[in-house]
Symmetry: C2
């Protein structure tokens, strides 16, 4: 129908559609299908339900929106532009997918204000949404008072068929159903098309029934293309069910409006082309030029600005009441929101001497977590069903469960991938939570995509990974990391720390918590087996990534570099070599990334260029170590899979003995 006959609603929805069509046409790249089909549900949600403040995208009590189907990014950019966010101007939309723009190919929280989480890798967004809803439920249970509700918002997620096929979304939906997160509302853009064509080729399950099996409330909107009333009614109904998350299946036509390409895979991920854009304009009665918008529709959607100011003002008033009545809780709450660490927080971290008992670094980690929990109210997390192996329980806190959202111990179940993405969502709630997720180091493989996103998206999460080498023992090669540490060190922006003993585990926590407050993730690789406390280790040493813990007088003949459980081997090997008249330095190197961040003078002081004879000792693969020991350096490492036997036996059979370190050093010395 012609523009003149279109309602404001229709004009607004078509504005979203054509911003997407035109931006993608200009970029000759992008995914128009989803924005065109999901525009009605997104419009109804943003116009009639969602509470947010375009002029303060970080307003704490806003409803959170996640476009889990991140390839449809133009939908989100169109919404941000039309509702008046400064982060997405019409110029930005014209620069969709171009170098330096605020409108990258997929939504990125670190590029575009108003984007809560980074999506694109499918299924992550809905799991992030569970984390956002968890954060809301936790903070609400902890801080709200009968006469002052300061935490109270919904989390809305748009998912597509692709998200629903990914295992991570099933994991996240299962645990969200278990927790009964009633303020999580997922709109499923059920358009029956994925890249390979009709979902008939690979995806014919009954998605709603599956979500019901998870304990969700489900609703079906049969015509998501034109029936705005049904969309509204569904969201209303979803909000009324407070003890279960809701999944609204909204059946749509992908690329709605395109006469020849709608309902085909062809419109999923490619520009329409000049001719089809023209035909789509005709079909939808769109008389505007590319990037031109009907002023009425824009004005209508920008009412969000006044609404947002009002919402925020009301919330500020409630907060003021809260502060006057509950000053202590208010101080803690506001402290959390600033993400500032309390002064002296790190003084609780324990230190050790060699006289202290040998203890596994996973046990040291448990001690640190439990020392830190009282001073860091935002510290919260748990394990993927390995709580008593990872040793990640905050004692005395109780479990985060339906009806007990105030508690801090989270049982993720055997769902490593969702755990990662839920932690990511908790951190990106931006309310000062410091989430941690734990499993065996080897099973970072199951959650690697989420760990990568924590590094990319500037997320202050802690990944607490135990059983960090073949020293794990009897479980055998399926459970013994070989390549794992190298593969994690390779991820940009992720700090990996493998502490050698108690002091270094404390140091690892000092770094990890500081990084978390600066919005960067840290991964700890911790031993299953006991480790002696070494002379010379220190918290400060860890913060520098590598440092000398034992040395001979004068320029060393050789440097032994170890990490984690192998540092003690280096110390003993050095002692032996010293008795044989060699000058030996031992460098403990818990973190490559932290060492890289030091200045050249410090690096030279630890690893002088002149000392070319070096040996690296780590019960993991050799990849990357040549950088520190040179092409002809010594390596006591493992470049094959592990074996099932008691840990000490495996370590010995694989050459992690003092004798072998000594022999390797002698070979290097020539």
């Amino acid at each position: 129908m012609p523009v003149a006959a279109q309602s404001l609603d229709q004009l607004a929805i078509n504005s979203i559609r054509f911003l997407a069509v035109d931006a993608i046409e200009k970029a000759k790249s992008g995914h128009p299908g989803l924005p065109m089909g999901a525009a009605p549900m997104a419009y109804v949600l943003w116009q009639n339900f969602m509470r947010y403040n375009p002029k303060n995208p970080q307003w704490f009590n806003r409803d959170r929106f996640v476009l889990s189907a991140g390839h449809g990014s133009m939908l989100q950019y169109a919404l941000l532009h039309l509702t008046g966010y400064d982060s997405v101007s019409i110029e930005d939309i014209k620069n969709f997918r171009q170098w330096g723009s605020s409108t990258p190919g997929h939504p990125e929280n670190f590029e575009t204000a108003g984007v809560e989480v980074t999506t694109g890798p499918l299924g992550q967004g809905i799991a992030n949404g569970v984390g956002l809803a968890l954060a809301e439920a936790h903070l609400a249970a902890k801080y709200n008072k009968p006469d002052a509700t300061i935490v109270d918002h919904y989390t809305y997620v748009i998912v597509g068929d692709g998200c629903n096929m990914e295992g991570i979304s099933g994991e996240a939906a299962s645990i969200a159903g278990h927790w009964g997160l009633g303020k999580l509302i997922v709109l499923y853009d059920d358009n029956h098309i994925s890249i390979d064509g009709s979902t008939d080729v690979a995806f014919t399950e009954d998605v709603s029934k599956r979500f019901e099996a998870y304990g969700w409330h489900t609703i079906h909107v049969e015509d998501g293309n034109t029936d705005l009333a049904a969309i509204s009614a569904a969201i209303e109904a979803a909000k009324k069910v407070t003890d279960k998350p809701t999944m609204i299946k909204v059946t749509t036509i992908i690329g709605y409006g395109s006469p020849n390409k709608c309902n085909t895979a062809g419109i999923h991920g490619a520009a329409l082309g000049t001719e089809e854009v023209k035909l789509t304009r005709e079909n939808l009665g769109w008389e505007y030029a590319p990037f031109e918008l009907p002023a009425d529709a824009v004005a209508h959607m920008r009412e969000a600005i006044d609404r947002g100011a009002k919402y925020e003002g009301e919330w500020e008033a409630t907060l003021a009441t809260y502060k006057s009545k509950y000053p202590q809780e208010a101080a803690e709450f506001e402290g959390l929101l600033t993400r500032q660490l309390p002064a002296g927080w790190d003084s609780v971290l324990p230190t050790y001497t060699p006289a202290d008992n040998a203890v596994a670094s996973r046990k040291h980690s448990e001690i640190c977590l439990n020392k830190l929990a009282p001073v860091l109210p935002g510290l919260m997390g748990g394990s993927a069903d390995l709580t008593h192996s990872n040793l990640t329980e905050i004692k005395g806190s109780g479990d985060f469960q339906k009806g007990a959202y105030q508690n801090r111990n989270v049982h993720f179940g055997v769902r490593e991938h969702a755990m990662g993405a839920i932690c990511n969502g908790m951190a990106l709630h931006n309310s000062g939570l410091i989430p941690y997720g734990a499993t065996f180091l080897i099973f970072t493989d199951y959650m690697r995509a989420a760990i990568r996103l924590s590094a990319l998206s500037q997320i202050g999460a802690l990944w607490v990974m135990t059983h960090d080498s073949i020293g794990q023992g009897e479980d055998g090669p399926t459970h013994q990391p070989i390549e794992t540490i190298a593969s994690l060190r390779a991820i940009p922006n992720l700090t990996v720390i493998r502490p050698a003993d108690g002091n270094e585990t404390s140091g690892a926590y000092k770094v990890a918590i500081e990084k978390a407050s600066q919005q960067a993730p840290t991964l700890l690789a911790l031993s299953r087996q006991n480790l002696p406390n070494l002379a010379g280790t220190s918290i400060e040493g860890v913060t520098k990534g590598a440092y000398t813990i034992a040395d001979s007088e004068g320029t060393p003949d050789i440097i032994l570099i170890g990490t984690g459980s192998e540092v003690s081997l280096c110390v003993k090997a050095a002692e032996q070599l010293t008795t044989e008249g060699k000058k030996v330095r031992v460098v403990s190197m818990p973190s490559w990334e932290l060492f890289d961040a030091q200045d050249a003078a410090y690096q030279e002081s630890v690893l002088p260029k002149a000392v070319t004879k070096r040996v690296a000792v780590e019960a993991a693969c050799s990849m990357g170590w040549h950088r520190f020991v040179g092409m002809d350096g010594g390596l006591v490492t493992v470049d094959r899979f592990g074996a099932s036997a008691p840990g000490g036996t495996v370590m010995e059979k694989y050459g992690f003995t003092v004798d072998n370190v000594v022999a390797t050093a002698k070979k290097v010395l020539g």
Copy 2:
């Protein structure tokens, strides 16, 4: 009840239980809970239903059994021992989890005959089972004749709560339901306990309803501890439903028989302890010493040997009929089973000259796949919903679908992790299938655990990964691999190949197919963007991992080492440097692993130790390259995340230009 009063069935079931209890007690390590609880279902299955030949574990038409809950490995070892497999003697059971034993902590197909797939990482086994069932369905559709059924077996899988929590199992179950794999029968050991305690803490969904939503047939056995008739009836009923896979939920008590530890997490993963072992013996009336077995029960279970010989004999007779009636099909079928490649198979691989058009290596890959498909009947696979981006369709074959199992194009849906494990299962059917799975290189993160298992378990799979660098362009950092190639190279036994052009892509396929026939996986990293065909590249060069493609006379001043899309930059940079009087060698290094496998003389001929000035050029992270270029070598690499913009722009902004390679080389030259 006392032994004298126990039926043969009870004696056999208790034999399984006590082999597990005693082996774990001796090892002081292992998981007794599952074997004790699941012994009845496993016994009924192996005694009354499964067709296998203990004296020929590789008999082709055997039913396949997968213990997806691999931590319960003693269940499987007990079954193998009791039914007469030579691979697991009583001595082996006494050496459970010890160095060099055939009874490692988790079942490993490469250690123990009779173990079909390696399990332990949860959820993998059920997805492997889908692959095994797919292989059966495919071969049956392709080779069976109305008067000669030579492919006809079931695939049985035992899963636990942990498997069912993992996303990969949901992905696999969804696609298995879609495919209607009626001969896949899953027994779910529903014992309500995982490591963190009751499943009430994290897993309260309705699993049966979920499987129904996937299109499965479901059955519930309410008393899996004692009601053998109900277990039998359920398996009977499962076999009768031929158009859907069946999930039998068998409710059991974990650690059944242990008076104080049954039904607790304490019995999941630790030995019972002397006292509780004694009490369990009393409770179950077990009068035998550790590792002592009732002769009647053993004889009863070893009837499997005669049954197996009979089954195999009958099958051999059918095969003989088949061979006489259908000699051509029989020849192909038997050829497949030998896993021998047809003579001259690689002659179909195309070669190119620089005069040929620049084409993306993903396109070259498509050409190779389609050239190879007619000569390699076992080649079969597909993409995780990116068929027309990965270019992995075998043209003219049709899609593997319900009612069309003979076809070779598999649509896995957006389920990378299950795709990996399904391919693993297809290969481990050991019938000559060469499975391939495809997605964007970055999304190997979603399937990394399955890729690792392909390397550990000696699986001849091809991983076809496209869009292999920041050259991917507009999709941005969520889709651009940086650390991915390094993280894959770090996996032992996995060959990673990143070809530079058409010849090298043909070489990559030559290697990958040969490796597959030798039961080792290969991963191809392929470009989205077009690549010029280079002078000097060759299939043979690829087989050596690295080789010289351009050189000056005499000893080079500097060596430029490139891979994939960056080799052409090296060639151009060398030309420029040569005009400036430098002697430059260009080495194309498509595969580190293949180069490592060459002898020292060859390695020296390509990278002479004397030439210390070297530059590595790869649009990926620098990790590992110091090994080839030295601590002070030149690096044109990327150690930060990518960006959204046209691919050429990103490459240029990140320094992948001839000018920058030249400048870096000059810096190294000093």
